[in-house]
């Protein structure tokens, strides 16, 4: 599969953009960028500095990597969407999201891109539960992940194992949609269901997740309470919208 990727990539000259959202990641971002440039030297990289108050942006600039500094913190979804907008406007064929905290392994980026280049998928999610070593999430979060993965699987009619992964790739058709409409707070199962119902082909590949290199997660107690409520409501409105639009088109 690797050989096929290289040949097709060269043949098609796909423009690939790696989007790295970062909020106060001055201790991790340097390592992440070094990894990315070593593993996928042909891809462009953009760091979306989501209103960091530390040295994140300056470190990125010193590394000679493109940085988009948002004047205020807009949240992970808003930051990633900035990258999608940039990728779409700049004519990229493929965009890959990878976190700036060092949890994702840059050597696995190629695994995400291959199915898109081979035109087998429009959206490729890196799954921490598909083969590979088990990812140890806290119990309640794990329960939520399983529940929403089951809901997404049921609605989309295909096995989805990891809806919360922030390590994924999309093609240009999906970029167009996401640059227009993307959840601001926690893009998750709702976003995947939304794309699936639009007819985009979703594919999962196994990835492994490392511990954060430094710092703490931004998931707070309040967010963990708000998360299931927001997701259920979002999924319900997507289904309702799909039902109403379907009826309208059928008429």
């Amino acid at each position: 599969m690797e050989e096929k990727f290289t040949a097709i990539e060269l043949a098609m000259e796909s423009k690939v953009l790696i989007i790295v959202p970062a909020y106060n990641e001055e201790n991790n971002i340097c390592h992440v960028l070094t990894d990315v440039r070593r593993e996928v030297p042909s891809a462009d990289v953009v760091v979306i500095d989501d209103g960091s108050v530390d040295e994140t942006a300056n470190i990125v600039i010193r590394q000679g990597v493109k940085v988009i500094s948002l004047p205020v913190n807009v949240g992970i979804g808003g930051a990633v969407q900035t990258g999608f907008k940039y990728a779409f406007e700049r004519g990229y064929d493929i965009a890959v999201q990878m976190d700036g905290d060092g949890q994702h392994d840059a050597s696995e980026i190629k695994k995400l891109i291959v199915p898109i280049i081979n035109q087998e998928a429009d959206v490729v999610k890196g799954s921490r539960y598909l083969g590979g070593p088990e990812y140890n999430a806290p119990l309640m979060r794990r329960v939520g992940m399983i529940l929403f993965a089951k809901i997404a699987s049921l609605i989309l009619g295909q096995r989805i194992t990891d809806t919360t992964s922030g390590f994924w790739a999309v093609n240009r058709k999906v970029l167009k949609v996401l640059s227009r409409d993307y959840p601001t707070d926690f893009p998750d199962a709702d976003n995947l269901i939304y794309l699936g119902l639009l007819g985009f082909r979703i594919y999962e590949v196994p990835v492994h997740m490392r511990e954060r290199l430094s710092g703490t997660s931004t998931i707070t107690f309040f967010k963990s309470l708000y998360y299931p409520f927001k997701l259920l409501l979002s999924i319900f409105t997507i289904l309702l919208h799909n039902f109403i639009e379907g009826r309208r088109i059928n008429k």
């Binding site: 979306i48 500095d49 209103g51 960091s52 108050v53 942006a57 300056n58 600039i61 493109k66 940085v67 988009i68 500094s69 948002l70 004047p71 205020v72 913190n73 807009v74 808003g78 969407q81 900035t82 907008k85 940039y86 406007e89 601001t184």
Partner: protein, 126 residues
Amino acid sequence: MKGISQIVVIVVSIFAILFIVELVRRKKMKEKHSLFWLSAGMLSLGVGIFFNTYGDIIRTFGVTEPGIFTLFLGFSFLFIVTLYQAVQISKQSEDVKALIQRVGILQSELLEIGAGATPREDATQV
């Protein structure tokens, strides 16, 4: 007692209307958003002035307690206003997010062409 209530309603309504007009004059509230509150103030003033007529009218609809009915009307009004404002806030949040994203992209392009723009050092969290 009825007379005192009537006076209180009239006085409060007049003050409310004047306060809203003053907010609009000082550009603290847009005319568009003052419409709801001015209408409520006018309605309240009307009820105050025609207190007995108001009571008679709503009793013809079978309402035995005009006070409770008025409270219900007030609650309904506040519900509509709050709902309207939640919609406005949601829309404005989306607009603000789009503007922040656009500023970030434009700033990075300025940096690229060497126009001297640098990332904000005093970035804040909202």
